[in-house]
Symmetry: C2
Subunit: 380 residues, 2 copies
């Protein structure tokens, strides 16, 4: 027998499961989802008193496949495999870690591309807009199903960090530690503006057909590609783009035309094409809306974030990255200040990184050491 | 007779003129433009020794209509009317000011929408890509035609500032004072990336038809609209977007759909629609390419900007704006440092403004006072 190829993930092969929820979910929009599926993965073992569960909340384009491989031949492990696994900062020898694809997603949880049982057709534009609040409610049901009354920790970056905040507000007794990374209490006008350009790219693509492209056998590939290209610019810092690509020309000289000339163009177009070939445009729209909507101060803006976070009793670790201009350190400091106003236990780190918003996905040693140290202190 | 309505421009009515150039122009790309027109406007009077001429170089979406009105009923004057006119910082009682639409433009100078005499059809994709160098060469011919051997000053913001730099390098004896505002010696990878997303929006619009949409009686309106929406985000600062729009909702509540919800969305879509209805998409493509290409250090990058600016003998005023992240103050400081390395006379100001890149078009009192003082010192 030949020796097994060395695994690129210390978790090895993992298998997703699907949970079906037959009870209707009342959404923040007023719509009701009569029933739905959530696809999820778990890593490690739930201990006897169920005190070692950790929930990972994903960001815009993430999913339930957080760590490990789906097949031995996989070239890439789950999206946060560098952080999660046996002996890793979020150590699956100690913790029972759960990844779940959000409602509205396109990786197995019920979403716009799923069949609407009422019509026998894909939901398409009929899929209701879901919010961070709705996701947290639906994940609480998954926790119920798994018998987890309180998470040791809930961890999320970017849009995932917003879900972490929402857990601390909506289910304060169900989470002991909140790790909100590269996040913000709410988007700025500039953030919303970028999201709206991305949405308009999709919505105005002639192949979008009002969201019902499944029925037309088309796909708004051009629009989604543009949305992703734009997104990518905002995930990276000016610094890292400069050092990785600068003004380097593909062919060494200008060609005075509109084909790729600069390396940065090649990179962006490649990223756009790759994403447009593997993600559902309706899900992209819906995820950006959830980002725009989240605002714990919405109903009483005059009281500010401290009042909105008043229910939270969890301990917090808040982390930001110096060159992240999409979710800048100032935004994380707002969360920290609000928690301090409420006399909560909060640790804060601003990690020097030139990777921009994407830094939260990178294996920076300082960043990972911080999470490791924090997680090691959690009793299970 | 009813009293005349008070003019919104102190210059009153101005009339563009068109200059025809029958001699071929050799372009940097290697292409040759056999003949071309430049549309231009002038304000004030050229003095006897022709020492009071000032050239204004426009940016991406600008044109020759820099100041004054085209008709008494005009609601808006030229794009830099707040700066230029009798008694204004660039005082047309002293200076003879020239505005000219760049080659490739869509406001009267020869461009992609013009008829190619060789075919009798619009140039479309057949219009050659032009560069900052080509523009400066073509404007030098306009100066020849007007009998101006040396400009008192050449002024430009953004892409216009690049033209100012190029004048100082290519025609050092033809300009005494260079005013480079909100500019950069060359674009960064991030700048190029934003331009490429804008271009891809246009190029991938099914109505683009490879640039020959004139012949198809279509127009890539969707693509140009997206390009402009994106551009607008980068012209404004996060600060000014926050203070002007914040998270204000149009209808006071979420509608949980993809119609306009936030005021910032309404603003951006309006700007995109307005622009897409009045600008030529091929011109937009070409102008962004000229931005990407400009790099005085291109042929000898190892020698740096100081070497590239060695030919320049003009005095310089360089101005940047604190919240301009598209052409950040650091980029202006590179120009200043290179000029100082060459022991040139250079004044530099970094104006505190929350208007981002757009600040160069705004009537900030400190900014205008600086230009006024600088221009008053110029002998004519």
């Amino acid at each position: 027998m030949p020796p097994a190829a060395p695994s690129i993930s210390s978790l090895g092969i993992v298998t997703p499961r699907t949970a079906h929820f037959a009870a209707p979910l009342n959404l923040k929009s007023g719509a009701v989802l009569p029933a739905y599926d959530l696809i999820y993965e778990t890593y490690g073992t739930l201990n006897a008193d169920k005190s070692n569960a950790v929930l990972i909340c994903h960001a815009l384009s993430g999913n339930h496949h957080v760590a490990g491989l789906h097949a031995a031949a996989d070239k890439n492990p789950g999206w946060w495999d560098n952080l999660i696994g046996p002996g890793k900062p979020v150590d699956t020898n100690r913790f029972f870690v759960i990844g779940v694809n959000n409602l509205g997603g396109c990786h197995g949880s019920t979403g716009p591309a799923s069949i609407n049982p009422a019509t026998g057709q894909a939901y398409g534009s009929g899929f209701p807009l879901v919010t961070v609040e709705d996701w947290v409610d639906s994940h609480a049901r998954l926790a119920d199903m798994l018998g987890i009354s309180c998470f040791a920790a809930i961890i999320g970056g970017s849009l995932g960090g917003m879900q972490v905040l929402q857990w601390s507000i909506a289910y304060p007794q169900r989470v002991r530690h909140c790790l909100a990374i590269a996040s913000a209490p709410k988007l700025t006008a500039q953030n919303i503006a970028f999201n709206d350009v991305a949405r308009q790219a999709i919505l105005s693509d002639p192949d979008f057909h009002g969201g019902n492209y499944y029925a037309h056998d088309t796909y708004p590939r051009r629009g989604l590609r543009l949305a992703r290209m734009l997104g990518h610019i905002t995930y990276l810092s000016d610094d890292v783009m400069g050092s990785k690509f600068g003004r380097i020309l593909r062919a060494g000289a200008f060609n005075y035309g509109y084909d790729v000339e600069f390396e940065i163009e090649s990179y962006l177009r490649y990223q756009g094409d790759k994403f447009a070939g593997s993600f559902d445009a309706n899900t992209y729209l819906l995820m950006t809306k959830a980002l725009d909507y989240f605002d714990p101060t919405q109903h009483r803006p005059e009281l500010g974030l401290s009042a909105a976070l008043k229910p939270a009793v969890a301990d917090f670790l808040v982390i930001s990255f110096t060159t992240d201009w999409r979710f800048a350190p100032e935004r994380s400091r707002e969360i920290v200040q609000a928690l301090l106003d409420n006399e909560r236990n909060v640790s804060y780190a601003e990690i020097a990184s030139n990777h921009g918003h994407d830094a939260f996905l990178m294996p920076d040693p300082h960043y990972h050491a911080l999470i490791r140290a924090y997680m090691e202190r959690i009793t299970v």
